[in-house]
Structure formats: C-alpha cells, structure tokens
Symmetry: C7
Subunit: 286 residues, 7 copies
C-alpha cells in the first residue's frame, strides 16, 4: 500500500492511527504517574533504611534533589521510548516498509550495545546509588581510587574533591563499593612506642590519665564521642613495646585527635621518666 491509498481507505487507516495516538498518550500519562510514585516510594524506603543522621533539614533538601534528578531522567526516557514506538506503529499501520529500518536499528543497536555497555552501567549504577541515597553532596566518601568530599551527584559521574584540592570525576559504574565516612563516626588509633623493659602496667596508667585529660579538654572533648581507651600491649619486639589507644570521634575528626593524643602522651611519658623505644635497626612485624 502506498501513502496515496490512505485517502481511499477512509475511514479505516485514519481511525487506527487516531486510536494508536490516544493509546500512546494514555500510556505515557500512566507511566509518568507510576514513575512519580515509584521514585517517591523508593527514595522514601531508602531513607527509612539509612542510618539516622542529625540534620533533618539537609535530608529534606537532598530528598527533593534526588527525586528531581531521577524524575527528569525517567521522564525523558519515557517520552523518547513512547514517541519512537508510536511512530513505528503508525508506520506499520500505514504499511510503510519497516524491515530496513528495524534491521538497520538492530545491527546498529548490537554494534553500539557492545561499546555502550559501560555507559549503560554508569547510568544504572547512578540511578540506584541515588535511589538508595548512598551519599549526598558534602559527604566524605571513599570510592576505591579516590577519597574526597562529594561536590556533585550525577547520573553518570560523581564529582569529588580530595584533601589536596584536586577535583575527581569518577564514573558511577566503576564504583564497586562506597565507604561513607560521614554516616556515623571515625576512629583515631594511636600507637605509642616505649622501651620493652618498661613495666606495661605503669605505662598504661600514665597513658590512661592523659586519655582522661584529653576527654576533659574543652576543645578536644567536643570532637570525641567517648573517652579514649588504652586497649593494651599491641606488640613487642627487641627495642620497642607498642601500646595502643583507641578513640571514637565525630566524623573526620580523627586526624586532629590522633595528633593531639600522640603529642600529649609523649610529653606525659617524658615527665613520668618512661624511656622511648631503643635504637633497633629494624623490627619485623610479629
């Protein structure tokens, strides 16, 4: 049938086309509505499962941003898919030969599909990471290659800024695990080396007193979630006995606490007359 026949096949073909268009519009409305509800639901459910954080205000802003990003993507995809399908179905109803079009699309689709798989993977990973709210702008995250503060949560790439000021663009599909340092607390580990001939009970006593002082310190205490603990003799070797102290701090404050405790403990040990590690060429790990 050629296009000219349409005029003569009145009213069959036009009616079929009209029915197809009406169905397409209805379907689009239904899908968009379903997307809206599903997005809201998924985001809501993720929020419920996420570890509680203090800032409700921030949560609300993030929630809105995530819903907007996802909704925009899914709406674009829905529009594109329904348009293409409607046009193709109308062409089929008009009996325009679709075979070359579909065959070419098939060959092209497969040829492209191999190369585009990382792209699809990036987007799918991005969608799920956003739905599951694994991180948001301002979180300090560890994505394997890079540790940095999130500056932008995208569907394909995530933009981070690391401690040295460098900006990183990381493809979402390349992230196999995410460590979020902002959801919870951090831990400062301080290893204090002393002479192996010192009495460990006495050393632990000195160290413990400093822990109490640090916790009582008005400035440092604010960074701590609980009093630092001296957990005991970590290892011993010719020339060195290592006593470990562990402190739970607010997120990302462990470096400050680590340096402060180390400095104070060294001074306390000197005052208490406890000798530092002896000069030993090298100490293999036990």
């Amino acid at each position: 049938m050629t296009p000219l026949d349409i005029v003569w096949q009145w009213p069959e073909t036009p009616v079929t086309i009209a029915v197809i268009i009406v169905l397409a519009i209805a379907l689009r409305w239904l899908i968009l509505r379903a997307i809206k509800r599903a997005t809201n639901l998924a985001v809501q459910r993720a929020k419920d499962r996420r570890p509680a954080t203090k800032d409700t205000q921030l949560q609300a802003v993030r929630h809105a941003a995530r819903t907007a990003t996802l909704g925009s993507l899914l709406r674009s995809v829905t529009n594109a898919v329904i348009s293409v399908l409607t046009v193709l179905t109308i062409m089929a109803a008009m009996e325009i030969p679709l075979a070359p079009l579909l065959a070419s699309a098939g060959i092209g689709g497969i040829a492209l599909g191999f190369g585009a798989q990382t792209l699809v993977k990036d987007y799918l990973s991005g969608i799920f990471m956003i739905i599951e709210d694994q991180y948001g702008v301002g979180d300090l995250i560890d994505v394997g290659d890079v540790i940095g503060t999130v500056e932008d949560v995208g569907l394909r790439v995530t933009r981070l800024r690391d401690a040295s000021g460098q900006v990183w663009y990381v493809r979402n599909g390349e992230i196999t695990r995410i460590g979020n340092q902002t959801q919870g607390w951090s831990t400062a580990i301080v290893d204090v080396p002393v002479d192996p001939d010192e009495n460990s009970v006495k050393v632990i006593g000195v160290l413990g007193r400093v822990c109490v002082e640090v916790h009582a310190d008005p400035e440092l205490g604010k960074l701590l979630l609980e009093e630092p603990r001296v957990v005991g003799v970590q290892s011993v070797d010719a020339g060195r006995m290592i006593i470990r102290i562990i402190a739970k701090t607010h997120p990302n404050e462990h470096f400050v606490i680590q340096r402060a405790i180390l400095d104070r403990e060294l001074q306390a040990l000197k005052e208490a007359g406890i000798r530092g590690p002896r000069v030993v060429p090298s100490s293999p790990t036990l």
Copy 2:
C-alpha cells in the same frame, strides 16, 4: 484487522480475550503460591544446613525478614511479567501489529542487557545469599574489600560498618566469597620472642603456666572456649626465638585475648629472668 472490526467479530475476539485474562489470573495465583512454598522451603533447607548457633529467637526474626524480602521481590517480578505477557497476547489476539514493539524491545533489551548485567548479577547474588542465609544483620563479615558488621541485608547492596565507624555499601555481585566471623569461634595467635640461647623447654614451661592463669581468670576465662596452648618453637633466627601460643575464643574476642596474653607473658618472662630478643638489625623469615 482494525479495532473497529472487534465489534463485528462478536463473539470470537472478546471470548478469546476473556479466556486469556482468566488464564493469566490463574497462572499468577499458581506462581505466587509456588513462590511462597519455594521460598519457605529454600530458607528452611538453608537453615538446616547452617552451622548451629545459640540464639533461636534471633533465628526466627531473621527467617521472617528473609522470607518477606524475597517474597516481596518475587511477587513484584511475577506481577510485572504476567501483566506484560497478558497485554501482548491480547494485542496479538486483536491483531494490532506487534512487530515494531517486539523488535524495538529486542534491540533495547540487548543494548540494555550488556550494561545491566552487573545489576542482574547483584540481584541474583543477593537473592541467593539471602536464601542461603550466609549472614544476617549484626554478623561481622569479611567480603574481601571490607570487614565490618552487617547493618542492612539488601537485594542489591549490603551495608556494613567497619571498625573505624565508616559505613560501606558493597554490591552483592562483587562479593565472591564471604567470611562470617560470627558463626563459630575466633583464634588468638600470640608470638612471644625470646633470646635464642634460652632453653626452649624452660620458656614453654613459664608460658604454659600463664596460659593456665589466663584460663582461670574470671573475666578473660569467659571469653575463652578452651585453655590457650603453647604449640612450641615457631621459628629461630640470630637474635630471636619465637614461641607461639594459640587460644580459641568466642567470636571477635581474639584481639582482647591476644593483648592480655601478650602482656601477661611478657611480665612472667621478666619475672622468670628470661631474656627478650637480642638487638639484631633485621631477621629474614626462615
């Protein structure tokens, strides 16, 4: 055939459509019931194969959670698949041209399939890990990249919190092996270095007496499953002879036991006048 023909082909087409819908509903009911039974059976069977743990209460809670998670997923998938198939079959019965739809779906499905394979892999891994009950909320697990306490068992990602307080989102498909430290016991290994000229029998005697004391200690003894054993001379080198002690402890208590035994052994050796390792620049592994 155009939609307008349906009216005239009474009663054939409407009856066919009605039969299809009835069949779809019956099929859905059958599948949902099969899923329920299969899930229960699989979860039950996994429970039987799992190493016994003390807390039956906890097991029941976990069992319910797992059945709910799996059932919810499988019900959603069943509903989606049956709806799509029913609509397509009705369209075929109404002789609406399906070729463009199916061809597009095919091309899109292949193009997406390449990129979505990690997603499918994550979900399938998640389903099987949940069915097999490899770990539950609160278990301390080792998934290769991360060691932490499970906070959430999801179908796509598992959320852990490691010892330093960082939250980890690990994709289930990336986990090739899981080490569950909570199903069984832990082992504390203490290597005590002494002077290589000391008599090994005497040293082992001193160390053995401390082992008995540690086991008799009211606090430490509770963490031990059996008396620590001095297994003998582990290695010898210029300047250092290493004696190894092994202790079986309750899950995740081995660090505490390790430090306690090391501290006590060092004091016992000092009291017994046994010299520590000599200062040797470096000792290559034997």
Copy 3:
C-alpha cells in the same frame, strides 16, 4: 483459531494434545532413568580415578550423598523443562499465539543471561566438582583465597571453616583450582640456621641423629610416614648457613612435626657446641 473451535475440530486437536502429553511423560521417564544411570556411572568412574584412601565406610556415605544431590537437581531441571515444553507445544497445537510469549522470553532470557552467567557457572562448576569428587565434607582444601575444612558441599557455594574459626562461603565458579590436603600426605620443611664457619658434615651428622630419634619417638613417629631426611646445605651467606630437613607426615600433621623437629635440633646443636647464625644485619636471598 480460537479456543471455541476446539470443540468443533473433534477429534483432531484433542487427539494431538493427548499424543503430546503421552510423549512428554514417556520422555520424562526415559530422561530420569538416563540421569540415574549417568550419575551413577560418572560418580563411579570418578571414584575409580581418585587416589585411594583408607576409609571405605566414609567413601560409601559420600557416594550416596553425591548421587542424591546430583539426582535431585537433575530431576528438578528435567521436570521444569519438560513441563514448559509440553505446555508450549499444546498451546501451539491449539493455535494460541505464541509469538509474544516467545519473543518476550527471548528478550528476557538474553537480558538475564548476561547477568546470570556467574550463577550458571557456579552451578556447573558445582555439578562437576561433585561428580569428580574433588573433595568431601571434612577434607582440608585450598581454594585460592581460603584454606579450610569443608563443612558443606553445595551446588552453588562450598562452606569452609578456616583455622581461625571463621566460616567461609565460596562460590564454586570462582574456584579455578583446588588443592586437597587430605588426599595423600603432607611435608614438613625445617630450615636450621648455623654459623657459616661450622663444618657442614659435622652439622649434618648431628641433625641426622635427631631425625632418627624423632622417627623413633612413639608419639611423633606415628605422625611420620618415613624417617625425616637432612637434604643438605640449602644456602649460605655472611653470618648464616642453612641446612634443610624434609619430613613426610600424615595429612595436616606437618606443623606439629615442624615445630618438634626444630625444637629438638636446636637443643642438639647447642649440646654439640655448634654455634648459631652470627648477628648479620640483613641477608639478601642468594
């Protein structure tokens, strides 16, 4: 043709359907019987090729368990495949449109196939490892990432418990090579360091006498398969000459033998007045 036509096409369609069902049942019976024989045969053949072990009782139990596991899986697969094919063929005989169903299944199958390949790989690996009887419950195996005692041989995962008490779930498809330490013997290697200026013949003589004593020891001798051998000077360097002793032991008893021989050799050398290694800062491998 619509379902209503079936009534009028008597007796053709019902007879065709009946023939199909009868054929399906016959086929199922044949395949199940073939599976039974093939499983038995394969398991039997694997047993013949396997290195001989002492415990025939254990072998029989394992044989039964393996046949049961495999048979159960293959029977489920056969039932599922034949049911699906029978239903589809009957639908084709009744002229219900199958195109949408098959096309959807095709698209879904490909999309799933990419993601499910690790799952299929796990199962196929599991099936062959069970048929070939590479290991059984209680064997100590090395699967690359983990070394442990097998607690459960599954079709998808193998459950191990390592020496520290941790339980490991390892996917069968991830295991590219298996080292079974229980099928045969173990080897203890003891490297004894002495002063490089000592006469090697004299040292080897002293060490050899201890080897004879260890073999004669009632307790240690039971763990040995043959008398330990002093194989000679392994390497020499400034400050250290290493003499190697090798002992063949019963499976997994080499650590005990290793420590016992090392301890006795050190005492024998001290008694014989042979000096230990000189203090040398570091000795690069020759």
Copy 4:
C-alpha cells in the same frame, strides 16, 4: 518486480520514492536542529554544574570549541544514518531484494561489533567528557596512567604532555576517573623530622613562625591561598619525631611551596638549636 516495471507502475512507485525523500530531508532538518539545541543545553548545564573558575574569556572559547566538536560529529552521524536508511527504504519500495544485503550487514556488524566495542567506548566516553567539560586544553589532569597538561581534547583520544616533555595519547574509553588539578587548589604537605627528645611545643612554635614569614613573603605569599598551618606531631619513633605542615596553594604551585617551606624550616630549626633526627638504621611505620 524488476527496475523495468517502475516505468509501468506510474505514478505509484515514483510518488512513494518522492514521499520518502521528502520525509528523509524533513527528518534530517529536525534532527540537526534537535542536536544543536541538545548540545547547547547539555554544554550549558555542564557549565552551570562545574566549579567556578576565574577566566570567563577562556570558558567562552572552550564552550565554542566543545559545541563545534560535538556538533560536527553528530551531524556526520545523522547524515550517514539518514542516507543509508533512505536508500534502503527506496530499494524496498522498488522491491529490489534486500535480504542478502541486510543479512551480510548483520553478520558483518556482529563480527565487527565485538572488535569495535573499544572504539565505540572511546567515542562515547569522549562525547560525554566533552559535554560534561571535565577538562579543557591547558588543564593539568591525572588520568590514572599519566599525569600531564592537556594539549588536545579529541573524541577518541586525549593528548597530554607530561612533566618530562613526553607526549601521551590516551584512549578516552580507558579513562575510568579523571583528576583535574586545575579546578580548585593544591596542597603542599611538608614533613619536618626532628629529634624525638625535643619538646614538641617548642618545635611547633619555631615552625609556626616560619609559616607566618612564608605567608608574608611577597613572592611565595602570592602562591598561597592561606597561611600554612603546623598541624602537629604526625608520628614518633626511635630517632625521629615528624611534625607536619600543610599549606593550601594555587593550582600546581605546591611543589614550589613545599621546597621553599622545607628549606626555611630547616634553617630556622638549626638557628633555634633544635636537633635533627638521630641516626637510626630504619624506622618501621607506626
């Protein structure tokens, strides 16, 4: 139908062909216009999300270059695809047998598709990196294998020149993460080793004064974004206590600052009579 029939089937076939050509031209015009708008929009959106940089002039030049590169590619692809489809559809309308052509193209497309996937991946990565404006000519970027200044942003490869003058051609698809050192600031980290017996408070005082001087220096101060900070005792060991200084600098100026601060701190410590690290054979990391 053979070509000779066209003459006799007047006017149907020629009219169909004319309609196809008109539709193709219209479609091409529509797509080219859509591409132009989409490119502008995407580039604009990326610009809005990008971290602010000082040079608006440079931004405008880059924006034009990116739009031109993308537009040129997309126009070529559009022309090629529409030409091929138009020719195929006309051939179908003329009833020339297309099967061998399409089948060959399919086989060739699949065979090529496997090998060409890295090519497609490179182009797709290039397109997205240009749209998202991850870097531009003159930026110093880290692409994993190579760190260098961008000399050319291509769709398939990016040309960099590293610090040693070597030119690098890196395929865009091989870049899984990009670190852009020019978008923001750099950080200079200076670790100053002193004798562990020195008083840390005194040492930090001396170092702090130098930091103030460096910031006041007319030449060095221009490179700094803020006054360098002495963050405290980083680690301690037999023979060495390390104090860390951190300075935020303009992009890529941290090496200059690092060397300048290190040099000045050493002189200041010598003047203040603070001893440097003691000679210790080797210090294992804490």
Copy 5:
C-alpha cells in the same frame, strides 16, 4: 497435519522417515570412522613433533590411553548430535510444530551458553592438550599456579600432586601455558659468595677443580649431563663478590646437584683459605 494423517498419507511420510533414518545411520558410521582416523593422525603427528624421549614403551601406553580418551568423547558427542538431529528431522517430516521446542532451546542455549563457556573452554583445552601430548601421567609440570607430578590427565581437569603431597585439581581452560620439566633436562645454578677483595681468577680456579670432582663422583656424576661450568663473576658489591656455577642435570635432579655442589665448594674455599662474604648490613641489587 496431525499424527493421524500419517496413516492416510501412505507411502510418502513413512518412506521419508525411513530415508532419514538410513541417512542418519550412514552418516554416523562415516563420522565415527573419520573421527578414528583423525584422532590417530593427530596423535601421531603430535608424537612426531614432540621432543624425543627415551622410553618407547611408555610412549606406546600413553598413545593408546590418549586415543581411547579422545575417541570415547567424540563418539559420545557424535551419537548425541545425530540422535537429536534425526529426531528433529523426523518430527519436521511429520509436521509436528517444532517452533516452541527450537525457540525454547535457543533461549535456553544462549542463557546457558554464557555460563557454560568456561566448561566448553575446559573441554576444548583438554582435547587439544591430549592431542598435542603436552604432558602425560608421571610428568612434572608447571601450570602457573601449581607445580606437580601429573596423576591423571582428564578432559576437564588435570590432577597433580605437588612436592608437599597436596593433590591439585586444575581446570584445563585455566592453563594458559604449561612448562614440562620432564621433557629434556634441568639446570642447577649455584651462586657462591666470597670476599670482594679475593682474586677472582684464584677463586674460579678453586671452584673449577670442585666442578671436575663432582662430575667424576660416581653417584653425582650419573645425575649430570655434562661437567658443571664456572661462568664467572656474576655481581660485586661492598662485602660480597658472587661467582656463578651452572650445571646441566637429568630432569628434576637439579636440587640435589645444587646442594651437593654448594656444600663441596664451601669446603674447598675454606681449605684454600678464601674468605667468605664480609658482614655487610644490606646489599642493594646492582
């Protein structure tokens, strides 16, 4: 056409079926014969290309075993393939609807194919390794992960026993290169360290005399293929000059020769008054 029609379409359908069966039997006979000849030929050709070994008896046994293993596999595959094709062709001739069967098989084949590729790879590798006779039972081979003596040459896995007695099951497809230590000779490399101030000509003279003695030794000489050679000064550093000796031995006898030469050379150097390496803390590689 339904099965009932067969009776009435006499004699066409039965004759067609008979012809198909006769053709299938003839084809099977032809293929089995071709397999036999091809296997013999391939195995024969591999034998001609293989490095010559002494034991013709062993070769004959191996040749028979290989031909049997391959023939058995290929016969099973031929039988299975011809049976399936014959049944399908007969069903087509009887006009039973094959579409659902083939479509299901196609979908299942693709879905399985992804997961089964390692299985196919293992078998194909096994077949070629057996045809090419890369190793046989009793050979000491290096397959990358494991070095051991072959205990069983299978089509899917190869069973090895390593030097410590552990049994290894290695999948044939995972073996990318095989090193066969039994086809040829082994090489013992002895590095003798002396004082760097010693005269190298004199040292080489002493070492050379020992080489002659070792070659003349009735027991050690049997293991050697030629007299060991002192190849000269391998490297020099503060405190150590290394002279290298190389000896060609019978397969797997190099460890024995290595230890024997090292022991004798050390005694000869002591007798000749040549000093050993000086005590130097560590010598970086030149």
Copy 6:
C-alpha cells in the same frame, strides 16, 4: 526457479543482473573516491592537530606512507564487500536458494566473531593510530610493556626495537596509551645528596654555578633547551639532604645530560668542601 528458466524469462532476469552489476561498479567507484578523500582529509586534519616538529621533509614522506597504507587496506575491503554483495544479489535475482549459505555464514560469523574480536580490535586500533599519526618510523615510543624505537608501523602490529637491541612485535589493540618521546623535549632530573648539616643556600649556590657552566659547555649546551635549574631542597632526613636539579633537553638526550650534570656537580661540591651524605643505615621516605 531453476537456472534453466533464465533463458525463457528473457529479458527480465538478464536485465536485472546487468543493472545490479552496473550499480555495483558505480558504487565501487564512488566509495573508492570517498575513501581517497576521507583518508586525505583525516590525515591532513591529524597533521594540523599534531604538535609542530622541525622536519617538513620527513612529514611529507610519512604522510605519503600513511595514505598509501590506509588506502590499500580500505580498497581491499571495499572490493571484497562489493563483490560478495553483488554475487549474493545476483543469486537472489536468479532465485538460487540463499538460506543455507546465509545461515551458515551467520553461524560461522558469530562463532568466529568471538575469537576474532582481538584481531578486529588490532586492525581498528592500527587504522586510527595511523590516521591520527600518533607515531612514525624512527620515533621513540612507550607502549606500556615496551619502550623502543619504531621500526615498522603496521595495521595489526607495530615493530619496535628497544634499547638493548631486542625486536618487539606489539599488537596495536593491546596499546591503550602511547607515550611519544620524540614529539617535544625530555627532562633530566638530578638529585644531589649532601650532608643535612650543610647550609642549603651555599650548596644551591655551588650547584647553580655548575648549571651555568654546563649550559655554556659547547657540547652539552647543544643538547639543552634551556639552562638547568636548581629547584631547591627536595627532601631531608637523618644523614642526607637532597637538592634537585631539573634540565630541559632535546628528545632522548636526558640520560647524557643527567650523567654529565651529576658528575660535574659532585666534583664541584668536593672542591667547595661540602660533605656528602653521612653513612646512615636506611632512610625511609618522608
């Protein structure tokens, strides 16, 4: 239709065949012309984007070689493709059954396609590397595994000769990044160690004077692009302070410059009475 029918269907089939052949020849002529223009254009464009180099003569030779290599390949491919398509279309016009041919080609194409993908990848990489003129014969390039001088630029492999005289054949598809050391300059980095107690200002003065001398040297100066710069104190540790000198040289002349500067600096320091690094057992990196 059988071949015999051609005679009777005069003139339709012969005319169709003639038309197909004429179209094929015209198409071939068009494509060959397009290839010529596209190759020239692409090569020209790559030349414009490439960093400027001195030798225009060499560029012209290379340009001709590249155009010839690419043109030859593309002409062969065009001829092959058009011949196959013409033959297939003629066979279709003659109604010879093409199904078995195309189906076999399809199966073979897919089966081969999996294995041939590295081959296709090699060729495609080669084509693009030649178009983009990433390197030419005589350039010193770094392809990851190998660094050497290009001896032959092939479509599948590139032949290099490394510094030790070994010839390398590297597959183009395995090259993910290329470093061309001949397009630009090289950098010599000289690290001069001195005693940490020396005054850094004085040392830098001495070193700077040598830099001026080296630049003034008639022979060495020709290799330099600018005066070497003393960039300052690179690091400091117990026993050693390192001063870094950087010099920009003509391509591949940095090793000569490096050794010359190091030698002269050492002599200048000795003359100026500046002590070298103190003997310190080992200096961990800061």
Copy 7:
C-alpha cells in the same frame, strides 16, 4: 516434496544439483588458487618488511615451512566449508527440511562459540604470527611469561625451551607481545661500584682502558659489535658511586660479555688502587 518426487521432476532437480556441484568445484579451485597466491604474497611481503638477517639459506627453509603450514590449514578449511555448503544447497534444492538442522547448528554454534573463542583466537594469532614471520625455529624469544628458544612454531601453540631446560607450551592467543632477541643485537650493561670519594675522571679513565682491551681481546672481541663505552656516573650515594659501561654484542652474548667486563674492571680498579664501595647498611635509590 519428498525424495520420491525427484524422479518425476526430471530434468529440473538433477540439473540444478549438477549445476551446484560444478559451481562448487569451480569455486573450490578458484579459492585454493587464491589462497596459494595470497599466502605467497603475504609471506613475501612480511619477508621484505622484516629486519635483514645474515642467513639466506635459513630464510628459504623457513619460508617454505611457513607456506606449507598455512597452505595446509587453509586448504582444509576451504574443503570443509565448501563441502558443507554444497550439501546444504543440494538439500535445499531437494526440498529436504533444513530448519531443524540449521536451528540446532545455530544454537550449538553460539553455545560453543562462547567457549571456543580462545581456540579461534589461538589459531588466528598463530596464522598471523606465521604470516608476519615474527619468529622461527631456533630464535630466542620473550613471550611475557617465558623466555626461551623456539622449538616448534604451531598454529595453536608455540613450543619453547627455556634456559633451565624446561619445555614450555604457550598458546598463541595468550601472547600479546613478542620480543625476538635474535633479530639484531644484545646489550651488556655493567655497573661498577666504587668509593664515592674517588675522582670520577680517574675511575672512568681506568675503566675505559679495560674497554679497549676487551674489544681487542681475540675471543671476546668476536662477540662485540663495537667497543664498550663508559657512559659515566650513573648514581651516587653515601658509600657508593656507580659507573656504568654499555657494550653492544651479538645476539644472546651479553651475559658472557657482562661477566668478562665486570671481572676485568674489578682487577683493573684494584691494580689502580681505587677503593671499592664503602660498607653502608643500605642505600635507597635516588
């Protein structure tokens, strides 16, 4: 149509079959001839591009061997492909149902194709390596995992024998780069360590004189392509200054030259009274 019909459709079907057979034989003759010419041409072209070597006799032998190997493979493939296609086309002409055959072949082809891709890759790599004449029997090559002398150049595997006498079977597809040490020359690099306080000009003078002597040596001189050069001070550190000597030798003679030069240089330095490196515990790389 059943086979019985052939008799009645005389002469159409038999004539068609005869035409097909004649065409197949002609096609086979054409392809075999094309293969012969293409192989010769490719091998010839590769010979022209290959670096010149001395032995024309050897080249001729190799050329013949390569042409034979390739021709044999391509002839077998051609025969197989044409036979299959002829049989299938005849079956199609006889209207025997081909669908089940082709469908089964398709499913089997895809399922096998995944697993067989490494096999195809091995063969394709082998074919191209033979055409390009990258190495021949007797060449010493480096294939990444193994360095050895080629004993057999196969289409699937290459057999090497390494320096220790072990035979290696390496799959051609696993070889991503080949280093041929026999096509050109080798380079001996000798690093001579001396006291850092020695005058470098004097040391280089002494070393240079030995280089002249070595080149004049009747035996060693034959192995050298040019006089060894003292390239200067390679590095300096506390306790050690390293002077590098580079010598161009005939292929694989660099180890002999290296040891000879090192030995002679050490004696020359001793005679000239130049001190060796001082005893320094460890020297980090500059």
